[in-house]
Symmetry: C2
């Protein structure tokens, strides 16, 4: 049997499978449309439902396609089905935005429209003014900690958190030409990236190489592209835009270097079965405050996944705590903890309850 005649039965099988997948996808889009019509002018995007669909797909998957591949494909299928109704518009922080845009695409799929903004402030404002449906904003990096500006904005925004995205962040060592480290005077990067890669830098670069903090890794890449005696720490995307060579990959000290983003919109999200709740808590600056804030969660057996204090901008003598807990705000024990907390705090703001990131 010739090669082609051996291939033929498999190709015929694939043709038949494709027809079935196509029909099922259109069938799915019809049901999505029916759901949209039942909801009328209400929200078409349901984060808790999408999270459930993706979790179920990963549970059901037995391969050979890896879990990540099927989750990616279903994210795109949902994205296209939703776009038949109305494509979503997603605002995000632009200048250093490669990662934030990647996060938006990862969460909403490629059928969503993205709108870049100059600042995190502006990206939230766009959604507040209903010129965009959702905003994706960076909140913390696993190595370098919180994104202060986003946290400050969470205190006042009327928007609700309705999702989170976790993105693995890799840094690369980039140069315009692959020359010896002895012919290197400077390495450019954002201060946070320099911090995230300090062990690698110390181990591999001569002491004479200056580390220069610039406004963004993209800017670092641009500068490194202009002078072969310099290098940059930046992302794959920046390497591609400025056509730099990747001299060393994944040079971040912490192998699980991730950035976490919140998705904010106008809607409250019902429980998905595996949720988190983000809170902002104001407390007086006095001995015991910290303990009083933590105690209600301990008492109710609720795990905290984030706890951070920042000085309040409004009042010199108050502190603001940013707390993420496991569980949905509608869970009984979360409700009980919040009741206890409100007795201790100046204010308690629920930023939102949302499904734990699936992908």
């Amino acid at each position: 049997m010739s090669d082609d005649s051996k291939l033929l039965p498999h190709r015929q099988a694939i043709d038949s499978i494709d027809k079935q997948i196509l029909d099922l996808m259109n069938e799915r889009a019809k049901h999505a449309r029916a759901i949209g019509e039942l909801k009328g002018t209400g929200v078409v995007y349901r984060p808790e439902r999408e999270a459930q669909v993706l979790r179920r797909i990963k549970d059901l998957n037995i391969g050979p396609l890896p879990d990540e591949a099927v989750a990616r494909l279903f994210r795109e299928i949902m994205s296209e089905c939703l776009a038949v109704e109305r494509p979503l518009t997603i605002a995000y922080l632009g200048p250093e935005g490669t990662f934030t845009q990647l996060a938006a695409m990862k969460h909403f799929g490629h059928a969503a429209h993205t709108v870049s903004c100059l600042t995190v402030d502006e990206s939230l404002r766009l959604v507040e003014a209903r010129q965009a449906d959702y905003v994706v904003a960076p909140v913390e990096n696993s190595t370098e900690g919180s994104v202060g500006r986003t946290l400050d904005l969470l205190v006042a925004t009327p928007l609700q958190a309705c999702g989170e995205v976790v993105l693995r962040i890799h840094h690369h060592f980039l140069r315009s030409q692959a020359v010896d480290f002895s012919e290197l005077d400077m390495v450019y990067a954002h201060a946070q990236a320099l911090a995230q890669c300090q062990h690698w830098l110390t181990k591999h670069l001569p002491d004479t190489v200056k580390r220069v903090a610039v406004s963004s890794n993209a800017e670092a890449a641009r500068l490194a592209a202009q002078n072969p005696r310099t290098a940059a720490i930046a992302s794959q995307a920046a390497a591609e835009i400025y056509a730099l060579n990747k001299i060393a990959s994944n040079i971040e000290d912490e192998p699980n270097n991730t950035t976490r983003f919140l998705v904010l919109g106008h809607q409250e999200t019902t429980p998905s079965g595996q949720d988190k709740t983000s809170l902002v808590v104001g407390a007086p600056h006095r001995v015991g405050s910290l303990h009083n804030i933590i105690a209600p969660f301990m008492q109710m057996g609720i795990s905290m996944t984030k706890f951070e204090s920042r000085p309040s901008k409004a009042n010199l003598w108050e502190y603001v705590f940013f707390i993420d807990i496991e569980g949905h705000v509608l869970d009984e024990k979360v409700q009980a903890a919040l009741t206890l907390l409100r007795e201790q705090a100046v204010f308690v703001k629920v930023v939102g309850a949302y499904p734990v990131a699936v992908l």
Copy 2:
């Protein structure tokens, strides 16, 4: 009946559909793997087969998902199925590369790896040296004509064209702030973009605004981001990277402004049923040459989709013609035309035969 109970049957239907799609996709991946095993160490990527699958899907599609959406989804499904075997590595021109990378992603899906290169030369060399599987190189723009460097490289490269990608190119008028046109001194863009938008520029901008050609539209965007009295013509991607405001969208004079790319690799592609063949033909510089080159195609009733002459780099007295024709090089009448052509030409090189772009 409550809203939720009305939604329930649709959600249950979607769950059942998703399970079926998942199983079918894995079934598909198994057949793809079986095909890969039959081919052994041979090429796993078959452009003619992918084109046939996508054309069939578009033919079979009855909605509500639009043809473009299902084609995109199937491109991604094929991309993930192929990546189970071995993800493809695609080289592309980096610096102005946003469009070229988009073209690579459009053609190979998001499971493929892309490698940026500083020049078109380098991107071809990477594949010639088998450090990448395929290269995507821009060949012509519908408004501005050919990309000369790529054409020159086609003369000598041992690579075969095995696909084409057509990308709609939109240009936008970008500024860091939305201020009046009277507060505008300069507009930056690549010379090609300035040419593509000249009617819009003449109609909308005061005569006092200088048009400044810079090395790329990305560079134009970067410059415009630094000075509110300047503007740039650039892509959506550049607007996002530099957080510029889109003052006017799609300002290109020609509404069907497209850029065409060739996919080059080491393989010859068998006929897909709707193909093109790219040729490079050398001819002496004498009266009648042009006619002698065209005549064989006329005689055999073959349509030409591109015909362009460039002076040969090798010989001052020779011309090189770049010709795209409808049909596959293995078609009888193409063979006949080539036989006639070889009697007239100094040399005839078949750059490749490949499926007409589907998406």
